[in-house]
Amino acid sequence: MSLFSPEAYAKSVVASVQEYSLLAGRAVGDLFSRPRYIADTFTQMDSIGVGSLPIVVLTGFFTGCVLALQAAVSLKEFGAVNMTGRLVALSMVKELGPVLTGLMVSGRNASGMASELGSMKVSEQIDAMRALGTDPIRKLVAPRIVATVFMLFFLTIISDACGTGGGALIAVTLLHLNGPAFFHTAYMSLVYGDVIEGLTKPLFSGFIIASIGCYYGLTTTGGTRGVGRATTQAVVVSSVLIILCDFLVTQFMIGIFGR
């Protein structure tokens, strides 16, 4: 049995980061030159955006419901149960909407991209594409990045709306709060900076999901087992990076908007 070499491990990590950075950089660079694969981008938008709609709607809705229930229990102790709408809206728009949507779309699409491109890699379809004069990064990666960033932005808005709506439903039906008052406190609590923060996060998350999914797909080795490994790694790494990025963006936005 060979011994674990920390040096070899560190080198492989650095090489992976370098390879990922080159892939992501080239994919972004390809957006500014021809040929552009517009039809592939729309196909991916349909697959990623429309395809993820049910999971995002359901996740957002039930998260809003749970938030309202949990918030009401705590707020009741302070006689501030009317503030439920404020808490639900702020939590959904600033944090839970962007992060949960990112994680859901990551679970569905980073894995899909890694397995699709990984299968193409192990069956030499990526090499065939290159042999036919097509740059796989331009054809496969760039459209997925554009589609994911664009669609995740709107999916997050939908998730925020569904979450607030779910919270309102619980507030009115189970907590017997006033509906218009719920929406009024929710609306009044949100300021420009909160919305900007909530809509900046999906831009980063979308880039992470597509670039990580494609990176693990295009570097797949080891046949079908390798495809499975790449899929798992893509979901794990993109999920961790989404949360890390969420922390950094939050810190940055607090620095700018002061809340």
Binding site: Q125, D127, R130, L132
Partner: protein, 279 residues
């Protein structure tokens, strides 16, 4: 194929006389600690069919991928159509590949596209008008005698049919160089002969330069001893035991070239390893 149809202009027309289509100059490559090819030098002239033989794992497929720029060598220079690959930008390499057709060992058809879209892939990329694409696809599929399978998906085809679709995809743009990576690998003898017939037909009808890897010695010698008869539209043995002058051999073993020459030189070689390999 119809002359009026759009095809990329030839990469070999402006080449000076005698310039090899493919030239390897002291090329070496390895993966991690394992050396795959060492100090490989050979050249392929215009119109030549170079058959690459050797035991499994000796680096034949790696050599083929090097020739198409799909892999970069660790040392040495590779020239295609008179230009060094190392001096080309990535964009130029992709443009160069438009003049090279490649048939992969496992066909490598795009499994989400049907046969028509697989064969037409490069035409779509070249923005050829749609009304011309269908005619050219039918023509390429007719060449490999598979026009009835035009609307099928790769998963519905047998291994031999997939290989023939792969050949149709490689020849549809009339490339100046075709790389066949084990086109008969894993096929039964009858299907293998059908594939070799197509290779002979392409060689003799279009005079396309090609590199061909094979594990089957009988396929290699069929290529050397047969020609395509356009009157009977079939493969015929060259009379009087003559050999095709444009078919040459390259034999690899453990990453080194052990033979580079004509069919006659190969069969008369006194090298003990080569004699044992050929038996």
């Amino acid at each position: 194929m119809a002359a009026a149809l759009t095809v990329p202009s030839s990469a070999v027309d402006d080449l000076p006389e005698g310039t090899p289509i493919v030239a390897f100059d002291h090329v070496s490559i390895g993966f991690e600690t394992h050396k795959v090819l060492t100090d490989i030098s050979f050249s392929v002239a215009r119109g030549e069919t170079r058959i690459i033989l050797g035991p499994a794992g000796c680096g034949k497929s790696t050599l083929m991928k090097l020739a198409n720029g799909l892999l970069d060598p660790d040392a040495g220079e590779i020239s295609i159509f008179g230009r060094k690959l190392s001096s080309m930008s990535e964009r130029e390499v992709f443009a160069m590949r438009a003049h090279v057709g490649m048939v992969f060992q496992e066909s490598a058809l795009f499994d989400s596209l049907d046969v028509e879209d697989n064969v037409a892939y490069r035409l779509h990329e070249d923005k050829v008008p749609e009304d011309q694409i269908h005619d050219r696809v039918v023509e390429a599929l007719r060449f490999v005698e598979l026009e009835k399978a035009i609307s099928k998906f790769p998963s519905e085809l047998s291994g031999g049919m997939r290989r023939r679709v792969s050949i149709a995809r490689a020849i549809i743009t009339k490339p100046d160089l075709i790389l066949y990576d084990s086109p008969t690998g894993g096929l039964d003898p009858i299907t293998s002969t059908t594939i070799i017939e197509l290779v002979v037909k392409q060689r003799d009808v279009s005079s396309t330069t090609s590199l061909l890897i094979t594990h089957r010695l009988q396929d290699a010698f069929t290529l050397a001893t047969h020609r395509w008869d356009t009157t009977t539209n079939s493969m015929q043995k060259i009379p009087n035991g003559d050999l095709d002058p444009n078919t040459k051999f390259l034999v690899l073993n453990e990453g080194h070239i052990v033979f580079d020459g004509t069919t006659r030189e190969l069969t008369h070689s006194t090298d003990p390893w080569l004699k044992a390999y050929l038996e």
